[in-house]
């Protein structure tokens, strides 16, 4: 079988598996977030936390809870790293330096999982287990909670209508309330992330991923050398790393490491885990909106963009332009033999179109256009399908922008889901999607203007610029993958990238929740013959166009200096 045919079959198998679970899993998640009942274990957790699970929060209160919980996460993670040498299970590793500890804490709490450290030589088991792995769960659950809260605001019907009464249990029945952050958080962890991660972790062990609590042990090889074989609770972390679109590897080589990703089968499972929640959440949205076709319209736009990225990266890697790749006879630099070009390209496109950032091959060594396509994938704002939760609320923001643009063209007041989009809504939406480009471009400009940028590059010329641009794009979009040639463990990069991650995560959340709160207060307007049908394929097409135009205009000059210049030279 030719590698191209095998790659096509692999893509078909992945799409088939995602399609199979889309409906049941999406509906299950909708049920989780709308059910009025609490599980016994959840009641127990609420008692420990000391919150009333049936209280309803207005947007500002919901946001404060999100920020308080995330701030606590940053502080705990920072403390764990700074005190590592004094805590048990440290494997003898030193405490992490302040700038790197801040960077890592910001990174894991913001669901970015950018790593300026090398896992196997810096982090002991205790930090990995109780710090990093915990944030893998809760940062994902926070993203999903915010997405669900935003959806509640979008679909909220005033209590007067019959529909509204039926939806009263969703917690959005009273004016402007978006639900309860603590129940959304706990349910996301207990009912969705933990069970799926548990089963997948065991499946990963079955394929060869390690899972033990030992440190490295020494073996004497047949050729007379000594080798330190590492150990650790890798599978349990690997499962949630992909499922929560986190991406922080247990080892420096991330999912290219054979202990994290030992075979073609484990690789497909990991790509599936990366994509399953972001794609299925569109069904959750459709179900909660009372019209599943609204969800399919978003899914269509996400699917087209994701598939486009997969095809672009795959085509470029198989064609392997670039003098070094041509000299080698294939783009295998930085790739593993068991994956080859096809599985590496599929993973690369999926990890950058979501906010995962795990890698099974090193993007820095991809062909200029293949690497450029992964960069563009992140620049689209990671909404196709995006990170868990953040992809959905990011796409909803773009949907508001798309109906606004369409409204401008025909001279009508734009509406989405029966709600009029006014000045306040479009301001919130514009602010939300402008945050990341502002962070990316100003961060890159700053690094290029100061000597810190040039000193950190491994590559030269246009490719070196791409390394820096990639770093800020990855951080501000909460991706976490890297053109890892950039030596980013310096106080300058640790600090600026850390700030980009926090602002790139929480500012769009602020604006998305404000948008949802504003929409929740709007009374629905009846649809007329002139209403734009946002559940039709035409709207999916407009959504794709809006995303590409908005991003294209923002980033084209920067892309022209980096991957385009390199690819055309």
């Amino acid at each position: 079988m030719s590698p191209i045919l095998a790659t096509a079959l692999q893509l078909l198998a992945l799409v088939g598996a995602l399609a199979l679970v889309h409906r049941p899993f999406g509906d299950y998640m909708a049920a989780v977030y709308t059910s009025p009942r609490h599980l016994r274990i959840e009641r127990c957790l609420y008692r420990c936390v000391g919150v009333d699970p049936d209280a309803r929060l207005r947007p500002a209160a919901y946001l404060r809870a999100v920020l308080a919980f995330s701030a606590a996460g940053v502080l705990l993670l920072y403390a764990l790293q700074r005190l590592q040498d004094k805590l048990p299970l440290s494997l003898g590793f030193e405490a992490i330096d302040p700038d790197q500890a801040f960077n890592t804490a910001a990174s894991f709490v913001s669901n970015t999982n950018w790593q300026s450290y090398a896992g196997e030589s810096a982090m002991g088991h205790l930090v990995q287990l109780t710090g990093l792995a915990v944030q893998n769960f809760v940062s994902a659950a926070v993203g999903m909670a915010v997405a669900v809260a935003v959806v509640r605001g979008f679909v909220h019907r005033s209590a007067r209508s019959r529909e509204g009464a039926a939806r009263a249990h969703e917690g959005a029945a009273r004016s402007g309330e978006l639900g309860n952050f603590w129940t959304d958080l706990v349910r996301g962890v207990v009912r969705i992330l933990l069970p799926v991660a548990f089963v997948s972790a065991l499946a990963l062990v079955a394929t060869g991923v390690v899972q033990n609590l030992a440190g490295a042990h020494e073996v004497h090889t047949l050729s007379g050398a000594t080798q330190h074989i590492p150990g650790g609770p890798v599978a349990s972390q690997e499962a949630i790393k992909e499922l929560g679109t986190n991406g922080g590897g247990f080892f420096n080589a991330n999912s290219a490491h054979p202990f994290e990703n030992p075979s073609g089968l484990s690789d497909l499972l990991e790509v599936f885990l990366i994509l399953v929640i972001p794609f299925s959440l569109t069904r959750t949205f459709g179900t909660m909106a009372g019209n599943v076709r609204q969800g399919y319209a978003l899914l269509g736009a996400m699917g087209v963009l994701w598939l486009g990225a997969v095809l672009a990266v795959t085509a470029s890697e198989f064609a392997h332009p670039g003098t070094a790749a041509q000299a080698a006879g294939g783009a295998m630099e930085g790739k593993e033999q068991r994956f080859g070009e096809g599985a590496s390209a599929l993973f690369a496109a999926s990890t950058t179109m979501t906010s995962t950032g795990a890698v099974n091959a090193f993007h820095d060594s991809f062909t200029a256009l293949g690497g450029g396509a992964t960069l563009l994938g992140m620049m689209l704002g990671e909404i196709a399908p995006g990170g868990v939760g953040s992809g959905l609320y990011g796409m909803l923001v773009m949907a508001v922008v798309a109906v606004f643009l369409a409204g401008l063209m025909v001279g009508r007041t734009p509406e989405y889901l029966g709600k009029k989009i006014g000045t306040r809504e479009i301001t919130c939406a514009a602010c939300s999607f402008l945050v990341t480009p502002a962070l990316v471009l100003s961060g890159t400009a700053l690094a290029m203007a100061l000597p810190d940028g040039e000193e950190a590059m491994t590559n030269i010329g246009a490719h070196g610029f791409t390394e820096v641009l990639y770093a800020y794009t990855s951080a501000a979009n909460n991706n976490g993958s890297a053109f890892a040639g950039l030596g980013a463990d310096t106080p300058f990069f640790n600090t600026t990238l850390g700030l980009c991650m926090l602002l790139g995560r929480f500012l769009p959340m602020v604006f998305a929740l404000a948008l949802a709160g504003s929409l929740a207060r709007r009374a629905p307007a009846p649809a007329t013959a002139g209403t734009l049908r946002t559940e039709k394929p035409l709207f999916s097409g407009m959504l794709v166009g809006s995303v590409l135009i908005v991003t294209g205009l923002t980033f084209f000059p920067a892309l022209a200096l980096g991957p385009l210049a390199e690819g055309l030279s």
Binding site: V134, S223, I240, F259, A324, A327, G330, Q337
Partner: protein, 200 residues
């Protein structure tokens, strides 16, 4: 708005956030990984411990972690950025058009061709490029095949016998279509060593 932001309410919220984080740390950071470890160790003890390979009655490495092989009697793996040190995994990070990478690739191609006595055109891409992990345990079947004559001569085995070992250790794609065909270098070398010992 000012009422909701009073210091007392902010303090209560911060306290709830800390408690939530601690409770979830116990559930996700201790109970979950320990449960996975317990079941994994019971159900797949070998794999959970890194798929060790034994030869001569001792542990000689992991089937999933590549090793550095020097000497004509062994099959060699791919170039490694860290010389196959599992404590420093990762790749060389040079771009596909980088002049330094071009030079390395050309030098590797010539070196592999000379070492194995084959024309440079017969050297496959994986033999001249660094892997992603730096501990790639596999090579392509093509790279294994061009090494057979050299390994056979050094071990005083027939070329046909070594070729058979290579074929026996060639793994196809998972389920027939996932990933790429490959040969595990450590397992193959263990088999070659066994055959050489039997022939003596």
């Amino acid at each position: 708005m000012t009422a909701t932001l009073s210091p007392r309410r902010t303090g209560r919220l911060a306290w709830a956030a800390c408690r939530a984080l601690l409770v979830l740390t116990v559930v996700c950071g201790l109970l979950y990984p320990l449960a996975v470890t317990g079941i994994a160790q019971a159900a797949f003890p070998d794999r959970a411990d890194g798929t060790p390979v034994r030869a001569d009655g001792r542990d000689v490495g992991s089937a999933l972690v590549g090793q550095r092989w020097s000497g004509r009697e062994w099959f060699h793996g791919r170039p490694s950025h860290s010389d196959y040190d599992p404590r420093a995994t990762g790749s060389g990070q040079l771009g596909a058009s980088d002049p330094r990478l071009v030079r390395t690739v050309r030098e590797n191609r010539q070196a592999v061709a000379d070492y194995n006595g084959v024309p440079t055109a017969a050297v496959p891409p994986d033999a001249v490029t660094g892997s992603g992990s730096a501990i790639d345990p596999d090579v392509s079947p093509e790279y294994a095949r061009i090494q057979t004559s050299r390994v056979a001569r050094a071990n005083h085995l027939t070329k046909g016998a070594v070729r058979e070992l290579v074929d026996a250790h060639t793994e196809g794609r998972d389920l027939g279509f996932l990933g790429e065909p490959r040969v595990n270098v450590l397992k193959l070398n263990v088999a070659v060593r066994k055959a050489a010992a039997a022939a003596r």
